[in-house]
C-alpha cells in the first residue's frame, strides 16, 4: 500500500524509545581512504550539547551522522533507538538540521512557502499547514514577511527563516552546524537567543564559544576523535589549551 504512509509511521513510533537520546556506538567514518572520525562512543541525552574543534577536525561530519545525512562507515548511530542506516526517514522526522549557509537551505521563493515545504513533504493537510506556518512565522518575527521574496531578507532573517522551516516540523531534536558563523553580532545574538529558548534537545557545532554558555555538555573534537567531553567551562579551557599548543 503506497497511498498512505500511516503503516510506516506507526511502525516507527512503535520502536522509538525517546528516553535513549542519540547514541553513537563505535562510530568511525572515512571518505575513501581518509579517516575523518574514529572510535566514537557516546550517548547524548542532555538538552544542550555543544561541539567545538579546529577546521577540518570532523565536526560537520559528526553533525551529519546524527540525522543520517552521513551514514557511518563503521559502527552505528541510533536516535531514540532508531538506526540511521535502516530507518533514515523516521530519524529525519525526529532530528531537524540547520546548516551554516541559510541561502542553501531556503528552497522556495517566498518566506511562507518555504516554511511550508517540510510540512508538504510530511503530507500535512493544507489548513493545518497554513496555521502552523503562520504560528511559526509569528514567533520568529517574520509574520510581516510571509509573502516576501526570501532573497530580500537580511542574513539574520534568512537564518531565522531556515530555523522556522525546521521548527515547524516539530522535530524532537535539532542539530545546528555553525548557525551563526555568517551573521553579524546582533543577528548572531538573536539566533543564539532563539536556540536557547527551544524546548527541543539541541546539538550545536560552533566556533563561537559564547554560544555555549549555559550548555550541559561540550565535546571537543580533534583529528576525528572526541578528546574532551565535559561541561562548557572545562571543555572550552581544554579546547583553548589544545589550540595554543599548535
Amino acid at each position: 500500500m503506497r497511498f498512505r504512509r500511516s503503516s510506516a509511521a506507526t511502525a516507527d513510533t512503535d520502536v522509538a524509545e525517546p528516553g535513549r537520546g542519540i547514541e553513537l556506538r563505535r562510530v568511525g567514518h572515512r571518505y575513501g581512504d581518509r579517516v575523518v572520525l574514529e572510535g566514537i562512543d557516546l550517548q547524548l541525552t542532555e538538552p544542550r550539547v555543544g561541539v567545538v574543534g579546529a577546521n577540518g577536525s570532523g565536526k560537520s561530519t559528526f553533525a551529519r551522522l546524527l540525522n543520517g545525512l552521513v551514514v557511518p562507515t563503521e559502527g552505528q548511530v541510533l536516535v531514540d533507538g532508531l538506526d540511521t542506516r535502516t530507518q533514515v526517514r523516521a530519524v529525519r522526522r525526529r532530528v531537524g538540521f540547520v546548516f551554516q549557509d541559510p541561502d542553501a537551505q531556503i528552497v522556495h521563493p517566498t518566506v511562507a512557502e518555504d516554511v511550508a515545504y517540510g510540512l508538504e513533504n510530511q503530507g500535512v493537510p493544507p489548513d493545518e499547514r497554513a496555521a502552523r506556518v503562520a504560528e511559526v512565522l509569528e514567533r520568529y518575527g517574520l509574520a510581516g514577511h510571509a509573502d516576501h521574496p526570501a532573497h530580500l531578507l537580511s542574513g539574520g532573517q534568512k537564518q531565522l527563516l531556515a530555523i522556522a522551516g525546521v521548527l515547524v516540523m516539530q522535530p524532537a531534536r535539532i542539530v545546528f552546524d555553525e548557525p551563526t558563523t555568517l551573521l553579524d553580532l546582533v543577528n548572531a545574538r538573536r539566533v543564539a537567543e532563539v536556540i536557547a529558548g527551544l524546548e527541543q534537545q539541541v546539538v550545536v557545532v560552533t566556533h563561537q564559544l559564547d554560544l555555549l554558555d549555559g550548555f550541559d555538555r561540550v565535546l571537543v573534537v580533534d583529528g576525528g576523535r572526541v578528546v574532551e567531553d565535559a561541561p562548557p567551562g572545562p571543555a572550552v579551557a581544554a579546547y583553548r589549551a589544545l589550540m595554543e599548543r599548535r
Binding site: R92, F99, D101, Q105, H108, P109, N121, H151, V166, M169
Partner: protein
C-alpha cells in the same frame, strides 16, 4: 532583479484561480499572434494595463521594470523589422511582445508561486501513469525561481572580489573570469541544497502510482 514576484495586495485579480489566469494569458498569446492587427495589439495592451494597474492595483514600477529589462531586446527587434520590412511592422511586433510580457508580469505579480506550481503539477499529473512525480516538477520550478537571485548575487560578489584585486570590473574578460569560480560555487551549493532537501524530508513523500500498489 528582473523577476516580477508576487505583490501581496488582495484584489479580485489576486483571488482569481491561478489556472484561470494562466489560461487567459495563453488565450491572449494566441490572439496576439492569430490576429496580428495593430488594433488587437493596442486593445490588448490597454486591457493589460487596466487589469494590472487598475483592478489588481500593482505599482507602476513592477510593470515598468519588466519593460525596462527587455529594452535592448525590443530595440533590436524593432530595428531588424524596420530594416527588413517597414517601421510600422517593427512597431507592431514590439507592441505585441511588450503586451505579452506585461500580461505575464501581471499574472506572476498577482499569483503566489505555490499556486502556479500547483497548476503545473496538475498539468503534469499524467506523469504518474509512467511512474513520474509531478510534485518534483513543481519543486523544480519553485527552486529555479528561488535560486536565480542567489545566482546573480554570487556572480556580483565574485566580480566585486576580482575588481577589488585589480581584475576587470566588466566586459567579456570579466565575464570569462567570473564563470569558472561561479561554476565551482554552484556545484558546492547544489550539494548543500540537496543535503538541505534531504534534511527536510524531500524523500518522505511516498511514490504514488495508480492502480494496485
Amino acid at each position: 532583479m528582473t523577476l516580477a514576484l508576487y505583490v501581496p495586495v488582495g484584489s479580485p485579480v489576486h483571488r482569481l484561480p491561478a489556472g484561470v489566469k494562466l489560461l487567459c494569458l495563453a488565450v491572449l498569446a494566441v490572439l496576439l499572434f492569430a490576429r496580428p492587427t495593430p488594433t488587437v495589439a493596442g486593445a490588448a495592451l490597454v486591457g493589460t494595463l487596466v487589469v494590472g494597474l487598475g483592478v489588481a492595483r500593482l505599482p507602476v514600477a513592477v510593470l515598468a521594470r519588466q519593460a525596462w529589462a527587455l529594452r535592448w531586446f525590443l530595440l533590436v527587434l524593432f530595428v531588424v523589422h524596420a530594416l527588413t520590412t517597414d517601421v510600422a511592422t517593427g512597431a507592431h511586433t514590439v507592441l505585441r511582445l511588450l503586451t505579452l510580457v506585461l500580461a505575464a508580469a501581471v499574472v506572476t505579480a498577482t499569483t503566489r508561486v505555490s499556486e502556479m506550481v500547483r497548476v503545473v503539477e496538475r498539468l503534469c499529473a499524467p506523469l504518474r501513469l509512467v511512474g513520474g512525480r509531478p510534485e518534483r516538477v513543481g519543486l523544480l520550478i519553485a527552486m529555479a525561481l528561488r535560486f536565480i537571485p542567489v545566482l546573480i548575487e554570487r556572480a556580483d560578489r565574485i566580480r566585486a572580489a576580482q575588481a577589488a584585486r585589480g581584475g576587470p570590473p566588466r566586459g567579456v574578460r570579466a565575464l570569462r573570469t567570473t564563470v569558472a569560480p561561479l561554476l565551482v560555487q554552484l556545484l558546492q551549493m547544489a550539494h548543500d541544497v540537496s543535503e538541505a532537501l534531504d534534511a527536510r524530508g524531500a524523500d518522505d513523500t511516498p511514490v504514488r502510482r495508480p492502480g494496485r500498489a
